[in-house]
């Protein structure tokens, strides 16, 4: 969010409107709210009738339709490659179909709730009874919430039944296969012993919700104990790219701006020669506006760059009129062209002898408009580094035959705030860590993939447990045992991994290393996911009912739909606004038309629309927060805190929505 601009204050205002709504609601509805102590039964009476109305509209057909669609998709169309992925796909289909059907059906019912009462004129008879407008509104919402709960309960039981059947089949198949492998091994028909994974699958199935703990993944070109946890360095001669981001570059008329670099150079080459970096300056608002330069680092690892076309990246203030021209945020991309060279960089701003410096900063700027009034600006902390990912997984390479001096890359997993009491240990005083690692064999394909593991705590980094030659089977869990003493030393637990075989890349995700804890029952995890779906549906119902207080049902439906869509596009619209609005979508054409009068009018309208949308999404609930599938399809147990946050978020959004509904209905004529 651009600080200090008009739109910033407007969005702040938009956020505070929600607070004002609640205050107005409390002041105006004080009597009604007090009466709710006895009036909840009246509200429920209204809700009960809404529920019976939904029932008479054959709402019970919905689970049947849902089951039919889901089964067709599961049985006929989509197939998983492994039992686990099949179950994950089935769960995704079952839960996603529930979510969509309930959102559509109950959303429509919510929009119809009050308009239909008005059309049937039953509101006249009901309105003549001792019932407040708040009870009327809450009654409609409660009724549809109850309908949603009943439907979700039915669908949950059906999902559980189907999944248990599928799981039973997988377990029985695994049992048979394991017995066959065991029999073959005992009879010397097979050389390889039966897979322990098959036995585990036959015993536990795939539905249990794992409570395993995962850590934060970091990758380092070279491990440095002084930097804890280890930090990755920019690898020369690769596609790795370092991004420095500046919110704004306020240029001065008196001196030319200069970009300064300062890297620590780590070289493994026998004759390294000059170390070169390739830099690209990019405007975030207009990504087509770029300037590139190759620079050579001096012996201290520093270089400077005087930008030629400053107007595309630097902001200027007209000394005559005082008008500000600001092209917005700027990014500097850096790659290193020397193989066998690693560039070490600062994550933030460091002080040496009282003088602050960073790996990249811009000097020669307008002192009046820089934050420190010193004429230079630093980038945002923790610059992003990309280029070592493959298919969404981080990769680390093993040692090199050609360059034995270069140490292998290291992946570190940091586990913070571990509670030793929640981690089960064996009789030998060990706890289990599961490794789930992918392997990419670019050389030495015939050799098995081997990894070395070190575990230590940040409280005692020299006290390490080392395990070598751990055999990694792709798509299989490799359990390892670590001493419990690691958990009781205090500090964070760090587990590092390296590939031991040259030419073997290990593919990692943040959950590739997980501390094992007892699994939770599937039904509980399913119920949690269903509750998250219910939260989302409940919020949409509240919006639909409120929209129906003053609008006819078609307009109420449209309004609710727009709310839901914008609520799902929250981050997109926020990013669009930060990137200069809709003009970005047709940048090339727009650039040709700059200066033409009709383009300028269109540009003003487009900018206005972006701003309106930006304000609007701040007033609407963010529906992307509801993610019912995130944990269950990964066979992970949803923490209770996540469920509580979802419920809290629903209440936080539903309360101002209902407050608005009450304000709209308070003086509304019912006949």
């Amino acid at each position: 969010m651009p600080h200090g601009t008009g739109i910033h204050y407007v969005t702040l205002f938009a956020d505070s409107v929600i607070g004002l709504l609640i205050v107005a609601f409390i002041l105006l509805a004080f009597r009604d709210v007090l009466r709710l102590r006895t009036g909840l039964s009246r509200a429920w009476a209204i809700g009960r009738v809404s529920l019976l109305d939904a029932w008479s509209a054959r709402i019970w057909v919905l689970p049947v339709i849902w089951l039919f669609i889901s089964l067709i998709l599961c049985l006929a169309i989509v197939r998983g490659y492994t039992p686990g992925s099949k179950v994950r796909l089935d769960l995704t289909i079952f839960l996603r179909a529930q979510e969509v059907l309930l959102l559509v059906y109950l959303g429509i019912l919510a929009c119809l709730a009050l308009p239909r009462e008005r059309e049937r004129r039953t509101l006249i008879t009901t309105g003549a009874k001792p019932i407040s407008r708040l009870e009327l509104l809450l009654g409609k919402v409660f009724g549809l919430w109850a309908a949603g709960l009943v439907l979700l309960l039915a669908m949950m039981l059906l999902t559980w039944g189907y999944m248990t059947l599928v799981d039973g089949k997988i377990r029985s198949d695994a049992r048979v296969l394991y017995q066959q492998e065991k029999h073959g091994y005992e009879k010397m028909i097979r050389r390889v012993p039966p897979q322990p994974g098959l036995r585990l699958l036959a015993e536990n199935g795939v539905l249990q919700a794992q409570n395993n703990l995962t850590g934060t993944l970091r990758i380092a070109g070279q491990i440095h104990y002084s930097s804890n946890p280890p930090r990755r360095e920019l690898k020369g001669g690769s596609s790795e790219t370092l991004y420095f981001e500046f919110p704004s570059l306020p240029a001065s008329f008196e001196s030319p701006p200069v970009i300064l670099f300062n890297f620590g150079v780590v070289s493994y080459a026998p004759h390294p020669g000059p170390v070169k970096i390739h830099c690209t300056l990019v405007s975030r608002a207009n990504p087509m506006t770029t300037e590139e330069k190759s620079l050579t680092l001096d012996q201290n690892g520093t270089a400077e760059w005087f930008v030629k076309h400053t107007s595309g990246f630097f902001s200027y203030r007209n000394p005559g009129t005082g008008a500000l021209y600001n092209p917005g945020p700027v990014v500097i991309r850096v790659t290193c062209t020397n193989p066998m060279v690693y560039l070490r960089f600062f994550n933030g701003v460091h002080k040496t002898g009282g003088i602050p410096h960073a790996s990249c900063y811009v000097a020669g700027l307008d002192p009046d408009r820089t934050a420190n009034h010193a004429g230079y600006v630093f980038p945002k902390s923790n610059p992003i580094i990309t280029g070592f990912k493959s298919n969404g997984k981080q990769e680390i390479v093993g040692p090199s035959y050609r360059h034995p001096g270069i140490p292998p890359e290291v992946a570190s997993f940091e586990f913070k705030h571990l509670n030793p009491l929640t981690i089960p240990t064996t009789k030998n005083g060990m706890f289990t860590v599961n490794l789930m690692i992918g392997v990419d064999k670019q050389e030495n394909e015939q050799l098995p993939a081997l990894a070395a593991l070190q575990a230590y705590t940040t409280a005692a980094p020299r006290d390490r447990t080392t395990l070598q030659n751990i055999r990694i089977d792709e798509k299989h869990v490799t359990p390892i045992q670590l001493p419990r003493s690691l958990l009781s030393q205090g500090g964070s637990l760090v587990i590092t991994l390296v590939s031991e075989v040259p030419g073997h890349w290990l593919k990692l995700t943040p959950d590739s290393v997980a501390i094992v804890r007892p699994a939770s029952p599937f039904i509980i995890n399913l119920a949690k996911s269903e509750l998250v779906i219910f939260c989302e549906v409940a919020l949409l119902i509240a919006i639909g009912v409120v929209a129906g207080t003053r609008l006819g049902w078609p307009v109420a439906l449209l309004t609710t739909m727009v709310c839901y869509m914008l609520g799902n596009l929250f981050s997109f619209i926020a990013q669009l606004h930060a990137a200069n609005g809709f003009e970005l979508l047709n940048y090339v054409e727009n650039n040709k038309l700059k200066g033409v009068w009709y383009y300028q009018i269109g540009s003003i309208i487009s900018a206005g629309m972006t701003k309106v949308l930006y304000i609007l999404v701040h007033l609407l609930p963010d529906f992307t927060r509801f993610n019912a599938l995130h944990f269950i399809v990964r066979s992970l147990n949803m923490p209770w805190q996540i469920l509580a946050i979802n419920i809290f978020w629903t209440l936080v959004c539903a309360l101002p929505t209902l407050a608005l509904g009450y304000l709209l209905l308070r003086k509304q004529e019912l006949a």
């Binding site: 009476a45 009738v49 004129r121 001792p130």
Partner: protein, 295 residues
């Protein structure tokens, strides 16, 4: 200070329905001043569009007045506590078609915060009271005849044993027997000390039961007063007798003319069609009860 004996009091009550342009505004009710004493049966008469239903909706707080105010049982119209003492029968029976009679009355009883036992008692009592056939009480209201629906609507209006009953066209959709029953019921309500505000096109009904009435025309009061005062012809005298011979009739006429009476008329009074119909249906029903059917 409002005198306690007024069940309804309005002051300059005005309702204008706004149009898109100001010239399209419709004045439904204009400066209505009305006083209904407790224990009275008050008639609200007028042709279509005269503002009867608008007045009732204003009294119930279903719509907001443009100007003026209304007090119901001493409280501003629409007050939630006052509505506990009100019963309202709308001109059409606006009920949920997917509920049956029991569920409907149970729902409205819940809105009066009645407990389960109270609800059951009230539902049974008022369904009997309005004479709804027990065989249809479990059926959805959507399948009812208009008369049956009307009876359920009437039952919901009386469910809370109200002090003030507002009835908008109560006999609409009922057969003559039902109409007569309603009229008798209204009289019984009065005997029980209840106030009834009755709006109807059936002038005969109003004439039979009302103590006072107003006649509205285009939102304004044209006539108001006691029914007897309004309908009585002060300068006309009527004599009724049985077994009067022609000669006696001529003597009576001559006597009246000698005494100075003008426009002397004699004739035979007629029984009202409503009474004849009622007699017929009652006798048939008695016969049906006495004679078992062939099956």
């Amino acid at each position: 200070m409002v005198p306690q004996n007024f069940a309804i009091q309005t002051r300059q009550l005005t309702k204008i329905y706004p149009g898109f342009w100001k010239s399209q505004n419709v004045t439904a009710l204009s400066e209505l001043n009305l006083q209904v004493e407790q224990g009275q049966i008050f008639g609200l008469l007028g042709p279509n569009g005269s503002g009867k239903t608008t007045t009732i909706k204003l009294l119930l707080g279903l719509i907001n007045p443009t100007d003026g105010d209304a007090l119901v049982m001493g409280q501003p119209a629409g007050d939630q506590d006052t509505r506990r003492r009100l019963g309202y029968l709308p001109e059409e029976s606006y009920l949920y078609r997917f509920l049956n009679a029991r569920q409907t009355l149970d729902f409205y009883a819940r809105l009066f915060n009645m407990n389960r036992a109270q609800r059951k008692r009230a539902v049974d009592y008022y369904l009997d009271f309005v004479g709804l056939d027990p065989a249809v009480r479990g059926r959805r209201i959507g399948t009812y005849s208009k008369g049956q629906t009307r009876r359920v609507a009437l039952a919901q209006a009386l469910l809370n044993n109200p002090d003030l009953v507002i009835m908008d066209e109560p006999t609409s959709g009922l057969d003559p027997v039902g109409m007569l029953e309603i009229k008798n019921m209204i009289i019984r309500l009065k005997e029980a000390g209840k106030t009834v505000l009755l709006s109807s096109h059936q002038l005969a009904d109003v004439e039979d039961v009302c103590d006072r009435l107003v006649i509205l025309y285009r939102g304004r009061v044209e006539i108001a007063g006691n029914l007897t005062d309004l309908l009585e012809l002060k300068d006309v005298f009527q004599l009724e007798a049985r077994q009067v011979s022609d000669s006696l009739r001529e003597q009576l006429i001559a006597l009246a003319q000698q005494g100075g009476a003008k426009e002397v008329q004699t004739g035979r009074p007629r029984v009202r069609l409503e009474d004849l119909f009622k007699q017929l249906v009652d006798s048939k029903r008695r016969g049906e009860k006495a004679t078992p059917t062939a099956s």
